[in-house]
């Protein structure tokens, strides 16, 4: 996976705001705050972060399930962020998603075959009479017998359903597949099957995958590049191995610290105050803050080839463990 791969999707200064949290209905809440990131052809880009980091919101904004409040989504020279539903229609085929909970991502009243034939019919991908064959073919391609077509979603296991979900997403031959915690709800023994399937599918179709997860092991295994998000901000971005062996941002380091077998201080991390509106979001938890950190949120800077960090002090902190 080289850096020479062409950029497929460019998210520029993307922000997604929601109005009104239960605690303070008047305030605008920025789930995604000024994020710039690109997705390249044929790559698997991982997006990691904890709950509330905005990673899922970002993915949904990319797919236009949420409306971005600011910024651009450049795809094939078109800004998807401002298009209306009708204008978006032709682009829907190019961006598809696999959801975290396979069972709720299918209409419980329809059979698997009906779910798979829907996109075929909506987009006239093949002639009407060819549809059953197409559906059978897709089931086989994701490792299931065509007999599954006549079953209802609740009759399949999580792993089986997720395969169908991947098949359904592939029906439209998308360029970008978003996998939102696609294996988190699956049993460990099934997880490997789905991960292998994703890898197979990706190589076979030269897909780009945006893989959202909180599981660092899976991210490291699967992804070519990784972006780390914290409270709506992208704090670090780079090739997987770079991120894992030379993490620059204190938050990334903290996250990676949880992977170690014998982690250090295992308690009494002070309960965090909400992140400040100005200044670095991570400031209230970061052990390395200086005054500048409370004043201005750091911009993404390149610390190495392809490795971006948003931290005022990354060069000084560079050599710390």
């Amino acid at each position: 996976m080289s850096t020479a791969a062409p950029t497929l999707v460019q998210l520029q200064n993307l922000s997604v705001s929601f109005s009104g949290r239960a605690s303070d209905p008047t305030r605008q809440f920025r789930a995604v705050d000024d994020v710039t990131v690109d997705i390249r052809g044929g790559e698997i880009l991982g997006l990691v972060g904890e709950s509330g980091s905005g990673k899922t919101t970002l993915a949904k904004a990319l797919l236009r399930l949420h409306r971005p409040s600011e910024g651009r989504i450049l795809f094939r020279g078109v800004d998807l962020a401002t298009l209306g539903e009708r204008a978006l229609r032709p682009y829907r085929r190019d961006l598809q998603m696999v959801f975290q909970d396979p069972l709720s991502s299918f209409n419980p009243r329809q059979t698997v075959a009906q779910a798979l034939s829907l996109p075929l019919r909506l987009h006239a991908i093949c002639p009407r009479d060819q549809i059953p064959r197409h559906v059978d073919g897709m089931l086989v391609r994701v490792g299931l017998s065509p007999a599954f077509g006549s079953r209802f979603p609740h009759e399949l296991s999580g792993g089986q359903l997720q395969r169908v979900a991947i098949g359904r997403a592939l029906t439209l031959s998308p360029h970008v597949l978003v996998a939102d915690e696609a294996v988190s709800k699956l049993d460990v023994s099934v997880r490997a099957q789905i991960l292998n399937l994703l890898v197979d599918v990706q190589t076979a179709h030269a897909l780009s995958i945006l893989f959202i997860t909180h599981d660092l092991h899976v991210a490291r295994y699967l992804c070519h590049r990784i972006g780390v998000m914290y409270f709506g901000k992208l704090v670090e971005l780079g090739p997987t191995e770079e991120i894992f062996t030379r993490p620059r941002h204190p938050y990334t380091r903290a996250l990676l610290g949880t992977l170690e077998e014998n982690a250090g201080p295992d308690d009494a991390d002070p309960i965090t105050a909400p992140p400040s509106a100005t200044g670095c979001r991570y400031g209230s938890r970061c052990p390395h803050t200086v005054r500048r950190c409370t004043e201005v949120h750091p911009a993404l800077e390149a610390s190495a080839e392809q490795h971006l960090v948003a931290c005022h002090r990354w060069h000084e902190l560079g050599e710390l463990a």
Binding site: F99, R109, S150, L172
Partner: protein, 287 residues
């Protein structure tokens, strides 16, 4: 399709296992049958007068007795039940289709449309249903057809709100988002994805609505603003019976008992349906 048949047979079996539901269904079915077939099978017509037998107490030949015109009360009640049921069911059907349709669209689109519709529904809700129905009759004019319309308007906000709230829930489900991602057109999403998944509580509400529709019709006709005599309806017969209650209490009481029965049956049936939806979810094993 076999999987569908399987689901249905399972539903049927659970339903039959619930004694309340079966009782309710039984009473309801019996009443519907009586009002349709039974009425036709009666030896008398509803208007058949027998001046030799005025206001006679219940007997073998007249199980509900006769009224001041010598008409067989049971026959009139059966015909009346048919009228009441029909008017109520029609009204509810209109309320349900219009209400749910509007509620669904409103919830899916959101924004001003949603707000307007809900404020309108709130307005209708502010009035107690019977008072509202009465008011509507005054505005629309008396008569059977308008009873239906009054019932429809009275129940419209309930269905609109129910349809809207259920749609709001289902709208956020991943499978609806998946449908949007596939560029499924909105009308199709509403019909294929959302409606089948909100149908259950709507059906329960409709059952209960019909029950209360009967009560509203009876009340309106009793007051003289609903169905006009000589057309029998449960309310008309009760109005009649009230006039000579001292001499012939059976007319009023038997009709009232019939209404109560119908209500009981429909309510139990609705409850049974509701129970059917719930424990099916809870009965799954945990691992």
């Amino acid at each position: 399709m076999t999987p569908r048949r399987n689901q249905l047979s399972r539903l049927l079996a659970s339903f039959l296992g619930n004694p309340t539901a079966v009782l309710g269904a039984g009473i309801t079915a019996f009443m519907i049958l009586a009002a349709t077939l039974g009425a036709a099978l009666m030896p008398y017509g509803p208007d058949h007068t027998d001046f030799l037998d005025l206001l006679s107490a219940p007997s073998l030949s007249h199980p509900f007795g006769t009224d001041s015109f010598g008409r067989d009360v049971l026959t009139r009640v059966l015909y009346g039940a048919r009228v009441s049921l029909l008017l109520s069911a029609t009204g509810i059907a209109i309320a349900a289709s219009a209400g749910v349709a509007l509620g669904m669209v409103s919830a899916y689109k959101g924004g001003y449309v949603d707000m307007l519709l809900m404020r309108f529904a709130d307005l209708l809700f502010a009035f107690p249903s019977f008072v509202l129905a009465l008011f509507l009759m005054v505005v629309l004019g008396f008569g059977a057809l308008n009873v239906s319309i009054a019932i429809a308007l009275t129940y419209f906000p309930i269905f609109a709100r129910l349809g809207r709230n259920m749609t709001l829930l289902v709208r956020e489900e991943p499978f609806v988002q998946a449908a949007r991602l596939m560029a499924e057109p909105t009308p199709l999403i509403l019909m294929r994805e959302i409606l089948p998944n909100i149908a259950a509580p709507l059906i329960v509400q409709a059952t209960i609505g019909i029950a209360f529709g009967i009560v509203i019709e009876a009340g309106l006709s009793f007051l003289g603003v609903g169905v006009q005599p000589p057309t029998p309806s449960l309310g008309v017969i009760m109005a009649d019976g009230r006039e000579y209650f001292a001499r012939a209490p059976w007319v009023l009481t038997m009709t009232g008992a019939t209404i109560s029965c119908a209500l009981l049956g429909l309510n139990l049936f609705g409850d049974g349906l509701r129970d059917l939806m719930d424990p099916r979810l809870r009965q799954r094993t945990q691992s």
